[in-house]
């Protein structure tokens, strides 16, 4: 039986949030991976690489796994009724409802995180509280059928975790070896706890604009949670 795995794509999606787990799911023989958006026009990611949706909200089959990646483009989605309705509709029946990075904010805006443990990029995790979630530190955080991943590259650890759930540990290990995933970062700056303070300050500075925009949107949507 084919497993249908669908990524929400949208303008200014963070490219690697999507392409990391997409690569992993594509190597699962039983899976068909979809890129879903309102229409089939190419959407441009944060890096400039474009993605062509393979299906639309209207035509997308019921998904076994719904995955919402993050990126600066998440901000308008949190107030986009059409997107939130699609996410809610798929989440009702999906075996796993998932996100990478700030994608969890879209799940929250759709009313799917009420009282549930979830994570996000380290600079966005606190914002989950404004959407009813219990912000939880972790590279991959599971609460029932909800699986959320931390920032960007956490999507790779997440992808292997989900494959193990869907098809067993050996299937996940086979993909891990195929992709030679034995990471060896040249530096130890991947978390705010381990990075030098000037590096933490530089990232906070770079992302200050999107963070402020996000907080304003959550203050607005948090007052009228879209849980209907």
């Amino acid at each position: 039986m084919t497993l249908h795995i669908g990524f929400l794509v949208f303008p200014r999606v963070q490219q690697l949030d999507l392409t990391g787990p997409y690569e992993i799911f594509s190597l699962l023989p039983s899976a068909t991976v979809h890129l879903v958006w309102k229409d089939r026009e190419i959407v441009t990611s944060t890096t400039g690489i474009g993605f062509t949706p393979t299906t639309t909200f209207a035509e997308c089959p019921m998904l076994d796994v719904l995955c919402v990646p993050g990126g600066i483009g998440v901000n308008p989605l949190m107030q986009d009724a059409e997107t939130l309705a699609f996410v809610r509709r798929q989440a009702e029946r999906a075996r796993f409802v998932t996100s990478v990075c700030t994608g969890s904010l879209v799940l929250g805006a759709a009313g799917l995180l009420e009282g549930r443990r979830a994570t996000a990029h380290w600079l966005a995790r606190d914002a989950l509280a404004g959407l009813g979630a219990i912000p939880t530190a972790g590279r991959v955080v599971r609460d029932g059928n909800l699986i959320t991943a931390g920032g960007v590259t956490a999507g790779i650890d997440f992808g292997l975790t989900v494959v193990a759930e869907l098809a067993g540990r050996e299937a996940a290990e086979t993909i891990q070896l195929h992709l030679e995933y034995a990471p060896a970062p040249p530096f130890d700056a991947g978390t705010p706890e381990t990075a030098p303070p000037p590096v933490v300050a530089a990232v906070r500075d770079r992302l200050a604009g999107s963070r402020a925009e996000r907080q304003a949107i959550i203050a607005a949507v948090g007052r009228s949670p879209a849980t209907v």
Copy 2:
């Protein structure tokens, strides 16, 4: 001054070989990242995701960094005179000549690895000897201005290594933290030494076809190395 970083794109490129380091280089403020192919028609990667070239062999500026990703599509490239001529022309002046995964085989077929230490995906590393290189185990292997990475996900460690060379350690650490790259693989199967034997057998089996095809091509081009 703008740094020009160019990825060769081609049909059946391994998607994450390219998208991992592409994400990293895109976050380097001083860099412009190019996708280079013979024409500007969309090319389809191994996963089905398409890439639209941003420039062509004829129009590409001289690159500071040339990067050749891998994938099954590498096999025909090893015998493609137009591609090999482009690679040689850029390599003459590039500050760094680089590859991810089986991309190093294209550098070898272009005559650029003679007597030099280089690496590739663990299942392709031995093939480098047939192209004059000294096959070398390692996630990121450097020999002078030649920087080659191991299989697929090694491209992320590679990307950070190259950014540190181009712009300093703090620039690389800033990107690492932005991407929350503190990997935590759920399993320890990323190398043939650590993976369970049935997993190693499964990957060998999956990749047997492309490996046989590769070996036949290298036996042919190895007899007439394209070093002119």
